[in-house]
């Protein structure tokens, strides 16, 4: 009996369905992925193509804006007789790739973390005879694809604009994709390795570690900003200023950094120096592949163990029966709302605060903005003029609203979708469904507007703006907050994605992109009407009261802006309420 196959694995002896070789399960995963993409593409046939068209259109707008700005910038440098292959452009490229690379480490690391440890598909795959490094490879490719599109959209217009202005040969453009795809391997692999190490070795204290990491990143940013502002606190922009600035970013010119290799390689390709371009290209690909292999090797040793640790230690912390003091403050602060709205808001607040990955990002960006407002006046000490004050205060107002807009798009828009399959719980509660929607609106409004108001007051205070500016800016912030929060909540109810459980994927999907584009457009219109006209009427050399005609324009602008803002609040909320009322679960 079976003497002829002494070394045949037991599984094959027991089961003739198996071939002699170990299953090529890694290949099977990619084959399946190809098939799902093909099926998704086939589903588009005969359907409205609004979704892909909007996505393509938005991407093209962003691409075009960056291309136009870069073209103008490179032309300006050319007019200033700055050599396009010289130090300043080199530094810009070094910094560009360094910062994009750093962001890629974070984004791909987080996506891989989600893919490897908290996806139902992963649970399914781990019960199959698929080697850990093959699951890792599958997740890695997925994460790289997901996180690097931003790199391509941001990087390619800048480099193509550079090629156009520098009259680069045709092969420069052919080199670009090879440099891009080789480069994303490096930060992607570093992110993956970090993710495996954190999950595999430090699961028990992962929240603490995450908090420490965030603090280290914030500290590094603050140090860099502090050094930068100290260096620019000079009278005017002169040679010394340029040299001082260049010195601050000297670290990005270290020849051991991949960002340095891609920057040098691309500039060499632009000059037609193929030997140097090829050398750097090979350097990037060989290091990228070596790092990927390192990650795959690590996954072979660590992945399954890490998964076990994540489950074993992930739910250890018991929650106290008593109301946490922050929840208690939150609940009391919202005492003026009805009890049902308050209960839903408290639920959302708890979910939000128990997810440090969410609030840490908001905290970091908010804090950086606060720091910038605190430094902006000092930076131009000695020569700050009224037009600067007038212009910078408007830009700051826009920056605050933009931050709020991003927060709403990322965290508030997915809220209705995240109720997902559990919607029946809220759906069966004896209260009108629009109450659910309004509670989400209140949550968005009250969790963002006070911070936005404080930042605007702080910015105006630091810039020593006259009192009337405070009122105009606060009114603008209030109207913009109402509109952006209502749009995020209302649109989130109109185009929900109940199947997705990852808020970042909901925000990055069709509805999220649509919300972001409309919000940005609305924000520009509202700020232009509510504050822009005011600022234009005060754009002289010094502050003075506007003329009668100017005042009329200002009043008309504020009135129109307020009406548009209120409509932008009521229309999406009404549409969202209508959708929720008619939705069957």
């Amino acid at each position: 009996m079976k003497n002829s196959a002494p070394n045949t694995p037991l599984s094959e002896q027991l089961n003739p369905a198996f071939p002699a070789a170990f299953p090529a399960s890694g290949f099977a995963l990619f084959k399946m992925k190809k098939r799902t993409l093909f099926n998704q593409a086939s589903q588009l046939k005969g359907r409205l193509l609004i979704r892909p068209i909007v996505l393509l259109f938005c991407s093209l707008i962003i691409w075009g804006l960056i291309f136009g700005t870069s073209l103008a910038g490179f032309n300006f440098l050319k007019q200033q007789k700055l050599p396009l292959g010289g130090g300043v452009i080199g530094l810009l490229f070094d910094l560009l790739f360094f910062s994009l690379g750093s962001l890629l480490v974070l984004s791909s690391g987080m996506i891989i973390y989600g893919g490897l440890f908290s996806s139902p598909e992963t649970n399914f795959l781990l019960t199959k005879p698929i080697k850990a490094d093959r699951i890792f490879a599958y997740r890695f490719v997925e994460a790289i694809g997901f996180s690097s599109w931003a790199f391509v959209i941001l990087g390619s217009p800048i480099l193509i604009a550079f090629g156009v202005v520098a009259d680069s040969p045709l092969h420069f453009y052919l080199y670009l994709p090879f440099f891009f795809f080789g480069y994303v391997l490096i930060p992607g692999s570093i992110g993956a390795v970090l993710c495996l190490l954190i999950a595999g070795l430090l699961s028990r204290g992962k929240k603490l570690l995450f908090a420490i990491l965030v603090m280290v990143v914030v500290f590094l940013c603050l140090t860099a900003m502090g050094r930068f502002f100290n260096s620019v606190r000079k009278d005017g922009i002169d040679r010394e200023f340029v040299d001082a600035t260049l010195r601050q970013f000297e670290f990005s010119r270290w020849s051991g950094l991949p960002s340095y290799w891609i920057s040098r390689g691309i500039r060499a390709a632009g000059r037609g120096d193929l030997a140097k371009a090829n050398y750097n290209l090979l350097l990037i690909w060989s290091n990228g592949m070596a790092l990927y292999l390192g990650g795959a090797f690590l996954s072979k040793i660590l992945y399954r163990r890490a998964f076990d640790r994540m489950i074993a230690f992930g739910s250890d912390a018991k929650k106290s029966k008593k109301l946490f003091f922050v929840d208690s403050i939150f609940e009391k602060a919202l005492g003026f709302l009805g009890s049902s709205k308050r209960a839903i808001m408290l639920k959302d607040f708890r979910a939000f605060r128990r997810e440090p990955r969410q609030w840490a990002q908001v905290l970091v960006f908010g804090f950086l903005l606060f720091l910038y407002f605190g430094s902006v006046r000092r930076s131009f000490r000695g020569e700050v003029t009224w037009p600067y004050q007038n212009g910078v205060s408007l830009l700051n107002l826009f920056a605050v609203s933009l931050l709020q807009c991003t927060y709403v798009g990322r965290f508030v828009f997915p809220m209705i979708s995240l109720e997902g399959r559990n919607f029946w719980i809220l759906g069966l509660v004896p209260m009108p469904r629009e109450v659910i929607l309004w509670s989400k609106f209140h949550f968005a409004f009250w969790s963002t507007t006070p911070i936005a108001v404080l930042l605007v007051i702080f910015s105006d205070f630091m810039l020593k703006m006259p009192m009337d500016y405070f009122f105009v800016h606060l009114w603008t912030t209030l109207i913009a907050s109402l509109a952006i929060c209502a749009l995020g909540v209302g649109l989130g109810a109109c185009v929900p994605n109940f199947k997705e459980t990852d808020p970042s994927k909901i925000a990055a999907g069709f509805g999220g992109t649509l919300n972001l584009v409309i919000s940005l457009f609305l924000l520009i219109v509202l700020i232009a009407l509510l504050s822009g006209i005011w600022h234009l009427n005060h754009s002289g050399d010094q502050y003075y009261a506007p003329s009668f005609n100017g005042t009329l324009f200002i009043v008309a602008g504020i009135a129109t802006g307020s009406v548009i803002g209120l409509m932008a609040m009521l229309i999406p909320m009404s549409a969202g309420s209508h959708y929720l009322r008619s939705k069957e679960f």
């Binding site: 009996m1 079976k2 003497n3 002829s4 196959a5 002494p6 070394n7 045949t8 694995p9 037991l10 599984s11 002896q13 027991l14 089961n15 369905a17 198996f18 071939p19 070789a21 170990f22 299953p23 090529a24 399960s25 290949f27 099977a28 995963l29 084959k31 399946m32 098939r35 799902t36 993409l37 099926n39 998704q40 589903q43 139902p120 598909e121 649970n123 399914f124 781990l126 019960t127 199959k128 005879p129 698929i130 080697k131 399954r304 163990r305 998964f307 076990d308 489950i311 074993a312 230690f313 739910s315 250890d316 199947k499």
Partner: protein, 268 residues
């Protein structure tokens, strides 16, 4: 008896050994979640051709045990072997012999049922002709013909459950681990499922069934194990459990008695 036996070059001995070894061997297994001991020194073996039912109240450690059997979790101490393969050190080999049907079935929404089954065949390295043959067999067995070429995103719960069972049996596993298979199924589907489980056991496969449906367990199980607070408090045929519990009634009475008794012991 163990994995070492299979490393011998003599194929004859190897096969004889494997045929004698239990399909599932759980040896002094503990699983710790932080400070909580979810599974406490469990010893259990399930033979080929046996339908073993695993019962226990919520939070008793059933799911943890099942996750360890499928290789999703590792024991904190002790070991688990599937047909002689240690799940910790020879996991890929062991997983080739198992199929797991979870309580919440996972399917790729953008694949048709047939494509999903082909994918499973690919994952297990089965030859294409064999896969096609087995798919047709599964279509007949589970009545998938009407919807097998539709995207799975359109499937009802019952259709999904049938598809998951088809995928689990496609590669002819030696061990089938099933967690709450009857939730959301209509009576006809439940009948079909019971017949399939029984016939798989009769074909020599080991079935590890976790369920709260005591009537189903009573009808199909050869042996029943009751886990309570991480410990296997009783194991044997229904008759022997009746003797152990001192009740001559239904499995429900036996189960309530066994878990009550142990709760009282723990409280003391």
């Amino acid at each position: 008896m163990g994995s070492d036996s299979f490393k011998l070059t003599d194929g004859w001995l190897m096969v004889i050994d494997s045929k004698l070894s239990p399909a599932i061997e759980i040896m002094d297994v503990c699983k710790q979640y932080g400070s909580k001991l979810a599974v406490d020194h469990m010893n259990l073996s399930v033979n080929r051709g046996e339908l073993f039912a695993f019962l226990g109240p919520n939070g008793a450690g059933k799911t943890t045990t099942i996750k360890m059997l499928c290789g999703l979790l590792f024991p904190s101490s002790g070991s688990i072997k599937i047909c002689g393969y240690d799940l910790k050190t020879q996991g890929d080999d062991a997983r080739r012999l198992i199929s797991y049907v979870p309580d919440l079935p996972f399917l790729y929404e953008k694949l048709t049922g047939r494509e999903f089954l082909q994918f499973i065949g690919d994952v297990y390295g089965m030859k294409r002709e064999r896969v096609d043959l087995k798919i047709e067999e599964m279509i007949q067995l589970f009545g998938l013909g009407e919807f097998v070429d539709e995207l799975t995103e359109r499937y009802s719960h019952g259709m999904r459950q049938r598809m998951v069972f088809a995928s689990a049996l496609l590669h002819e596993p030696e061990v089938l681990v099933v967690d709450e298979p009857t939730v959301g199924l209509d009576p006809k589907s439940v009948r079909k499922l019971k017949d399939v489980l029984r016939s798989q056991a009769d074909l020599g496969k080991a079935i590890f069934l976790s369920s709260h449906s005591l009537d189903i367990v009573e009808e199909v199980a050869d042996r029943i194990g009751i886990i309570f607070q991480g410990k296997l408090v009783a194991c044997g045929s229904l008759e022997s459990l009746r003797e152990q519990s001192g009740t001559g009634g239904s499995l429900e009475q036996v189960f309530l008695e066994m878990t009550k008794e142990n709760q009282e012991q723990n409280e003391k």
